[in-house]
């Protein structure tokens, strides 16, 4: 998230698009604090939940129509002049002129300029179409700078294109598409967009409600665009409040347990694009913005991986890294399709339970039953570990060899976790783990060292990289020092570094204080540049672990800079230069965060002026507002401005398309689904989809989570204190639909989709109401997904069917996330 949970208290209006009260209850106290201080709370959700119960307005919205809703809000703000004009003109690309060849989806029947057929060949012809993005670009002047019209009137400027693109997204259209009555939508639009300007800010919270769609990335973009339109990024009470679901989903993303990147958000090399280091750095380093430093971060990463063996002469080991065959490969869903097809032989499931937790879980289980071997490391024996015991499976038929290694929870090991607001916090080992339980770190280091023994003496080129890696972290091989691992992540000098006057700045092996000191010549190593500064060395040479710093917040420092370490550089609200106007003054006293102090000491004794205030500047602290680029807050973007126009694989503006399974034709254009959606053809009818208008699957289904359970249930179904709190798996069904089907509360029911079916209990409730979509009644049900066939035996309700057996293997075309928030099902009384 761009902001900080504590700062939500400064919001004037908060729009929760997720169920924050139930899924992030302790964070939600800041929403309540804001409300106590007079803020209004809007809850946009198909279901009435505990979040709705304390909101000022609950807005039920049909799942899968978020872009229609956000687009409607943007259009409303533009039409009614509610946007923050000074912010939009100067801090965004609204004024930039776009290539005259580009046409919005309003002029293209739901498509942007450039859609092309990609041909049919290949083993996996899943994307039939792709966009040629050649017209999705700025007009530039002779020096290559984007042409601008600060009056925002030029028909080619981004603002006018945005206005035209969303001109179809009227309150009437929002009512037809989303099922939100027009009067309610206008009430929300007035309230949310009305809290914009120098002394007002609003924030929007989201979680997987927006991401798990075939236009998941565009959902987030739409939210971000609304926020820059209203001037809400980088300011107190503003921001994008992304609420992550796992304790370390942020950290695991930063350290890049993801196929497409390396630690610190740098692309994983592609065979056809990045044949060597020079080409990689040329293609991946933008011409402007802070990412111009990428070569320093990338070479430092190679040095962290490969140590002394990484030298200038061997491209710092670049060729040892694997290169991807394609950008369209290796994601979670690719993984299980390819595993089912037999391409994957061995598998490590480390603290993840795909037998329950991923899309099309039936396919995932069938795929794992085809492996040669599998290692599962987890606190409990999961359905993934027990995949050979899947109900209905004869273990004799499952040839997968399974190794289960018991894992230690946080209280039994040292280490850090990064929370949803980028805050890195340390936990200390309180007790030794029991029996043969070990930390994951101990397992990885043991595996690496044993593998190195097997490879010792190999002269093969392909083994050199792995043999160059070091796995020694401290003196105790049984318990590697996590602080020393963190130091490798943080970065250190690989040799003595002197400044231009010959003074030693860093001793060899000394931890770096800031990523600004990283170099691209091999003199520094660092596993994840954004974490630099989290662990530094004191004058006595001892490590100071800032993740373990515990200074409470106070009136002088409400953001609590002495508590943990927030990447990057302990900045708590990113892009905070935007909290000040062009001249560097706070937009208002009420919304001040950082500002330019012309009297403060400057970068050198002969200079004056510095950014100061309530947060660490996310900006060059000495770059004056009137200096070149001193008025451009979005430092991570090459053009230094917030992007309304931002090319993704499916368009430069978010456009509403219906989910792959939907109850209605697309009312906004004749293009039914995302034109470049990813759909896998899986053998044996393992991924069938319900066609539009299917009478067999007439109801919308969404999946969601509960306060008392955790994700795939591994950390809740085995804990009696939690497992007893819900006495059964259930499906929430409106009274209207229950009447139509003939159901009573508590009836056993079957929920089915073309992929699978589950047996569960009907919870007939007023929390869901049918929608009116284009005049027709559309029913939606909701099903939590925490259950599997394992749990506490004495608590039968802790066990239940796997909701993800219902979902499909389809994906967003930019990041390949699945669509588990909106698909189609049928509901029948009894267990059929």
């Amino acid at each position: 998230m761009t902001t900080n949970l504590i700062d939500i208290q400064n919001s004037d209006v908060i729009m929760c698009t997720n169920n924050m009260a139930e899924n992030h209850p302790v964070g939600f106290q800041w929403v309540m604090k804001a409300k106590e201080r007079g803020a209004k709370v809007i809850h946009v959700d198909p279901r009435f939940t505990r979040t709705s119960a304390v909101a000022d307005i609950h807005v039920p919205l049909r799942s899968g129509t978020n872009i229609a809703f956000f687009g409607g809000l943007m259009s409303y703000a533009i039409q009614n002049n509610l946007y923050f004009k000074d912010y939009v003109v100067h801090y965004t690309n609204a004024s930039f002129l776009i290539d005259p060849g580009f046409k919005t989806a309003t002029d293209g029947g739901g498509l942007f300029t450039g859609l092309e057929q990609t041909g049919k060949g290949g083993a996996d012809p899943h994307i039939a179409q792709t966009y040629n993005k050649s017209s999705w670009k700025y007009q530039v002047d002779g020096d290559g700078n984007p042409k601008r019209d600060n009056t925002l009137r030029d028909p080619s400027c981004v603002f006018q294109l945005l206005k035209r693109h969303y001109s179809r997204y009227t309150p009437e259209m929002v009512e037809r598409v989303c099922g939100i009555p027009k009067a309610k939508f206008v009430e929300v639009a007035k309230l949310y967009c009305g809290n914009s300007g120098p002394d007002k800010t609003g924030t929007i919270t989201y979680a997987l409600n927006l991401t798990q769609h075939t236009n998941g990335v565009q959902n987030i973009r739409a939210l971000c665009m609304l926020q820059i339109l209203l001037g809400n990024i980088g300011r107190p009470g503003g921001g994008v409040t992304a609420l992550r679901g796992h304790a370390n989903v942020q950290g695991a993303t930063d350290l890049e347990l993801l196929y497409h990147e390396l630690p610190g958000y740098m692309a994983m090399p592609l065979r056809d694009v990045h044949p060597d280091l020079k080409t990689y750095l040329e293609k991946e380093t933008p011409k402007g913005g802070f990412w111009v430093n990428k070569p320093k971060f990338f070479v430092s990463l190679l040095k962290a991986f490969y140590g002394d063996k990484a030298t200038k002469d061997n491209e710092f080991g670049y060729q040892w890294l694997p290169k991807r065959a394609s950008a369209d490969a290796y994601s979670h869903q690719h993984m299980f399709v390819d595993m089912y097809k037999g391409r994957i032989k061995g598998f490590l499931a480390d603290g993840q339970n795909p037998a329950v937790g991923g899309p099309n879980a039936k396919l995932a289980r069938a795929a794992m039953q085809r492996l040669d071997w599998m290692v599962v490391k987890d606190i409990f024996i999961t359905e993934t570990a027990d995949v050979w015991k899947t109900p209905g499976t004869d273990p004799k038929d499952v040839k997968t060899e399974v190794f289960f290694l018991p894992a230690a929870p946080a209280a039994e090991k040292d280490g850090s976790l990064t929370n949803t607001m980028r805050l890195i916090q340390w936990h200390e080992k309180a007790v030794n783990p029991p029996g043969d339980v070990t930390s994951d770190a101990e397992f990885f280091v043991s595996l690496a060292k044993r593998l190195q023994k097997l490879y010792a003496g190999s002269k093969k080129e392909r083994d050199k990289g792995f043999l160059a890696t070091s796995w020694t972290y401290g003196d105790n091989p049984k318990e590697p020092s996590m602080e020393l691992v963190l130091k490798e992540v943080n970065g250190f000098a690989t040799e003595e570094i002197k400044d231009k006057d010959g003074k030693v700045v860093y001793k060899k092996d000394q931890a770096l204080n800031t990523f600004v000191h990283m170099t691209d010549d091999g003199k520094t190593a660092g596993g994840c540049w954004i974490y630099t500064g989290v662990i530094v060395e004191g004058p006595d040479g001892k490590l100071i672990n800032k993740a373990n710093s515990r200074k409470p917040a106070d009136d002088k420092d409400y953001l609590g800079h002495g508590w943990g370490f927030s990447w990057p550089a302990n900045r708590r609200i990113i892009y905070n230069r935007a909290s000040a106007d062009l001249a560097g003054k706070p937009w208002s006293e009420k919304k001040k965060l950082i500002w330019w102090d012309p009297a403060a000491d400057g970068a050198t004794p002969d200079k004056k002026g510095k950014w100061v205030g309530l947060d660490v500047p996310d900006f060059n602290a000495f770059l004056a507002p009137d200096a070149k680029n001193g008025d451009k807050p979005f430092i991570m973007r090459a053009d230094l401005v917030g992007a309304f126009f931002g090319p993704l694989n499916d368009g430069p503006f978010p456009e509403h398309y219906e989910p792959m399974e939907s109850p209605t034709r697309n009312l906004l254009s004749k293009q039914q689904n995302n034109p470049v959606v990813k759909v896998w053809q899986v053998p044996d009818k393992k991924n069938e989809l319900a066609p539009l208008g299917s009478k067999d699957y007439p109801y919308v289904i969404t999946t969601y989570r509960l306060t008392e359970h955790h994700l795939s249930g591994v950390m809740s179904r085995y804990l009696p204190m939690l497992a007893e709190l819900h006495y059964s798996h259930f499906a929430e069904i409106s009274h209207e639909l229950a009447k139509e089907i003939g159901l009573d509360n508590g009836d056993r029911i079957t929920v089915m989709t073309p992929r699978g079916k589950i047996h569960t209990k009907a919870m007939v409730t007023h929390r869901l109401k049918p929608f009116k979509i284009d005049g027709k009644t559309v029913h939606q049900i909701g099903v939590p997904w925490h259950w599997g066939w394992k749990g506490v035996d004495a608590l039968p309700g802790s066990k239940g069917d796997i909701t993800n057996d219902l979902s499909a293997t389809v994906a967003d075309p930019t990041v390949y996330i699945q669509e588990t928030k909106a698909f189609m099902c049928n509901v029948k009384k009894g267990e059929v």
Binding site: N248, M339, A430, F444, R462, G465
Partner: protein
């Protein structure tokens, strides 16, 4: 005297007087003090991070020897003020739980049972699986789209999934291990 919640929790934590506030005519303070004192007397306390959602509530873990006896919210935490939700409050059962396996287990192909195995044997076997699979399926070079041979050093036959439940340091070690072995099916929960 006005007490902020943090002061209140600190006060309660250090004296056990928490339940006395508003307790009416019956003074429960000595009872509460005794109960709290007994429970964590001579216990060591370590800061921890709640392992459930990503709010990152800091916890205080009280232990005696190798047994955790109590886990509660850390009142100084700026973004949580010491609060825990039902899941955070149940964290102790991740450690103290009879359903928790403490031995390494092996399931042979086609078998219908788990067998307990020494950790050392497991590590040896797992290492061998990684080694053999890498030896057999490693892709060293490949032609690019223009037919030019490129070093790709890729291993597609082993996939790695997880985890958003492990520490940053562990995530880094796993990234380093997978990438330097050539593994490209490399994912965790953020994708789903």
């Amino acid at each position: 005297m006005s007490l902020s919640r943090r002061d209140f929790l600190k006060y309660a934590g250090s004296t056990g007087a928490g339940v006395a506030v508003g307790a009416g005519a019956v003074d429960l303070r000595p009872v509460a003090a005794a109960a709290t004192t007994l429970k964590i007397k001579e216990a060591k306390v370590h800061p921890s991070v709640c392992p459930y959602c990503a709010v990152g509530c800091i916890q205080l873990v009280y232990s005696k020897g190798d047994t955790i006896i109590d886990i509660e919210g850390h009142p100084d935490t700026p973004h949580t003020l010491g609060r825990l939700c039902p899941k955070g409050a149940a964290t102790i059962q991740l450690s103290n739980n009879p359903l928790r396996p403490t031995k390494a287990l092996y399931r042979a192909p086609g078998s219908d049972t788990w067998e307990e195995k020494p950790l050392d044997w497991m590590y040896e076997q797992i290492t061998k699986r990684y080694y053999d699979t890498r030896e057999k399926y490693f892709i060293e070079k490949e032609k690019d789209k223009d037919g030019k041979e490129v070093t790709v050093n890729r291993l597609e036959a082993i996939a790695s999934l997880g985890s958003a439940c492990i520490d940053n340091e562990e995530c880094y070690l796993l990234s380093k291990l997978n990438r330097t072995l050539g593994i490209v099916y490399h994912e965790h929960q953020a994708r789903v």
